[in-house]
Amino acid sequence: MDLPPVKQAFSSTVNEVTLGGANGRKAVTIGGAKTVPYGGDLEATGRRPRIAVDVLDAAPADWPGALAEAYKDVLDDPAAWAAMAVGDLGADLVCLKFDGIDPDGGNRDAAHAVAVTRRVLAAVNVPLILWGSGHNEKDNAVMPKVSEAAKGENVLLGTVTEDNYKGLTAIAMADGHCLIAEAPLDINIAKQVNILVSDMGFPLERIVMFQTTGALGYGLEYAYSIQERERLAALGGDTLMAMPVICDCGSEAWRAKEAKAPAADFPQWGDEARRGPLWEAVTAVNLLQSGADIVRLRHPAAVGQVKAYIDTLWGKEA
C-alpha cells in the first residue's frame, strides 16, 4: 500500500474584501487566505497584506517627539499628510483617524470632519479607512455624515462594537461601504458582533474584523493567539469568523513607555527615534505572522521596515 499524501487540509477560505475601486480610485483587495500564514503553498496564502498609514483629522497634541517630528510639516494639514503617506511612504491605504472629534480631544464638529474627509479623498487615489474617535455618542453624531461625504467610494468605515453597531451599520449599508467590526481582545464578542451586524442585513463579505491590538510588551502574545484562533476558525469553515483582519500597530506601539521614553531619561535604552519605530515594526511583523491583512502604522521608518519585510516574503510589487 502506498503512503497517502500528507496534507494540511483546510476546508474554507478567508473572505476577500475589495476597498476603493470607484471614481478612478485604486482598488485594494485583501483576504483570500486558504492556509495559515506562510504555512503552505504561496498560491494558498491569499492576498498580499497591506499597510495603512494613519492620518489624523487634527494635529495631535500628545504625540511623542519622535513621531511628531516625522510629520512636523503636515500635522496641521490632513490632505498634505495623506499625500505624503502615499507619495513618500508608499502607503497602500490611508487611515483617516478622527481623534479630533472626541469631546476629550478637541471636540470638533461634523462640518470639520466632512471637510477633512473631502480634502483627503481629493488628495490621494488609494482607498480610505474612516475611523471614528471611539467616543460612542460623538461618533454616532459625526460618522454618519463622514460616511455620506464618502458615499460611493467604498471606504472601510469603523468601528462598530457589540454595544454600538446599529447606526454605523445602517449608514455603511446605505452608502456602499465596508465595515470594521471591533471586539475588545475577545474572540467570542468578535463572533457576536459579526452576527449582530449580519442580522441587520449587512453582508458578512464586507466586514473586516478588528481586535483592539496589544503592542509588544503590552499583550502582543494574547493578541497574536486570538488572531491565530480567528484564522483557524475561518479556515475550518466558520463563516461567521471568515473575515480578513486589521490590526492597529501604530497607536498601540507608541503608547508603550519603551517606545516613546526619551533616551535622556533612559540612556541604556538608546535613541528613541530609532527605538520607537522598531517597537512599532516588531509589533506589526508579529501580527502579520498571525494573519493580519491590514496593519495600521504611524512612523515612516516603521512603514519602511514593515514594507521591506512584506517585500521579502512576497516579492517586490511591480
Binding site: P4, A9, K191, Q192, I195, G237, M241
Partner: protein, 275 residues
C-alpha cells in the same frame, strides 16, 4: 456535524404513500424543510414496500434534487438500487452512498462494489462495522473492522476523508443490548485515531431509541455524548429542534465552534455548509 436528514425513507407512512402515488409534493416539502434545518445530505431510501425499487429510487432522487441544492445520500442494501439512483443523481453537488459492510456471506465483494460506485461518482461512502459474522459484540472487533474498512477503502481509491464509519447502534431497550451504546462511545474514540485525517464517524441515531419512550431525549443525549468522543456525523431527524440545539451546545462545549451569545443561531446559520 455532518447531519444526514433521515426523513425521505419509505418506512415512514407519508413517504411510502407518496412513492406509491408518485406524489412529489410531500417529498419536495421534506427536502426543503430538512435543507432549511441544516441537513448536509438528504438520505433517500425507498423502503421495503415499493413495487419497483429501482424505479422508485430514480423517482425519489429526481423529485428531491429538484426541490433543493442539498446533496443526496442514496440508501439501500441493494447495489442495483444505488446504481439506479446514481443514473439520475446530480453528483456534481456531492453524493454519499449508504452503506456497505466489510463483507457479507451472500456477497463477499460488497465493499468493492460500493466503493467503486462511490469513487466513480466522486462521492463518499458509509461503511458499517460488520462482516460475515454480523454485528460484533466487542469494542475491539468493531475497531478492527473499522481499520480493515479504512485500509480496504484506500486500496479502492477512497481516502479516509471520503469514508464514513458507522459503528452500528442498536436499540437500547433490546434485552442484553443496553451496554452497547457505552461500548460504541469507546469504539468511536479509537476509530477516530485510525488515520490522519480520520474517517468521518456517523450513526443511524434513531435506531437507538426504536420502540423506547422519550425518543427525542434519548437520541439527543446520546448524540451529544458521541460528539464528545469524536463522532462528526449522524443520520438524524434534523427537524427535531431540541436535537439540533443539543448538537450546537455539544460542539461549542467541545471547543469545535467558537462561543458567542447567539451560538444556537450561529450554528444553524452554518449547518449544512460543513461537508
Amino acid at each position: 456535524m455532518i447531519a444526514i436528514g433521515e426523513r425521505i425513507n419509505g418506512q415512514f407512512n407519508d413517504v411510502r404513500r407518496a412513492i406509491a402515488e408518485k406524489d412529489g409534493g410531500p417529498i419536495q416539502d421534506l427536502a426543503r424543510r430538512q435543507t432549511d434545518a441544516g441537513a448536509a445530505y438528504l438520505d433517500i431510501n425507498v423502503g421495503t414496500a415499493a413495487e419497483d425499487p429501482l424505479d422508485a429510487m430514480r423517482w425519489l432522487v429526481e423529485t428531491a434534487q429538484a426541490a433543493c441544492e442539498t446533496p443526496l445520500c442514496l440508501d439501500s442494501q441493494k447495489p442495483e438500487v444505488i446504481r439506479a439512483g446514481l443514473e439520475v443523481c446530480d453528483t456534481s453537488r456531492g453524493v454519499l452512498l449508504n452503506s456497505s459492510p466489510l463483507s457479507k456471506k451472500s456477497d463477499p465483494a460488497v465493499l468493492d462494489t460500493y466503493a467503486s460506485m462511490a469513487r466513480e461518482a466522486g462521492g463518499s461512502l458509509i461503511c458499517l462495522t460488520m462482516d460475515t459474522e454480523g454485528v460484533p459484540q466487542t469494542i475491539e472487533r468493531r475497531v478492527e473492522i473499522a481499520a480493515e474498512l479504512v485500509t480496504r477503502a484506500m486500496d479502492l481509491g477512497l481516502e479516509p476523508d471520503r469514508l464514513f464509519i458507522d459503528p452500528i447502534i442498536l436499540p437500547v431497550n433490546v434485552p442484553g443490548a443496553q451496554g452497547q451504546p457505552g461500548l460504541i462511545l469507546q469504539a468511536i474514540e479509537q476509530i477516530a485515531l485510525l488515520s490522519d485525517p480520520p474517517p468521518h464517524i456517523t450513526m443511524g441515531l434513531s435506531n437507538l431509541s426504536q420502540g423506547a419512550a422519550e425518543r427525542s431525549l434519548i437520541n439527543r443525549t446520546f448524540l451529544a455524548m458521541a460528539v464528545s468522543h469524536g463522532c462528526d456525523s449522524a443520520i438524524v431527524d434534523v427537524l427535531d429542534d431540541a436535537l439540533v440545539d443539543a448538537v450546537a451546545a455539544a460542539e461549542m462545549i467541545m471547543n469545535m465552534q467558537i462561543y458567542s451569545d447567539s451560538f444556537l443561531k450561529a450554528y444553524r446559520g452554518q449547518a449544512g455548509r460543513q461537508r
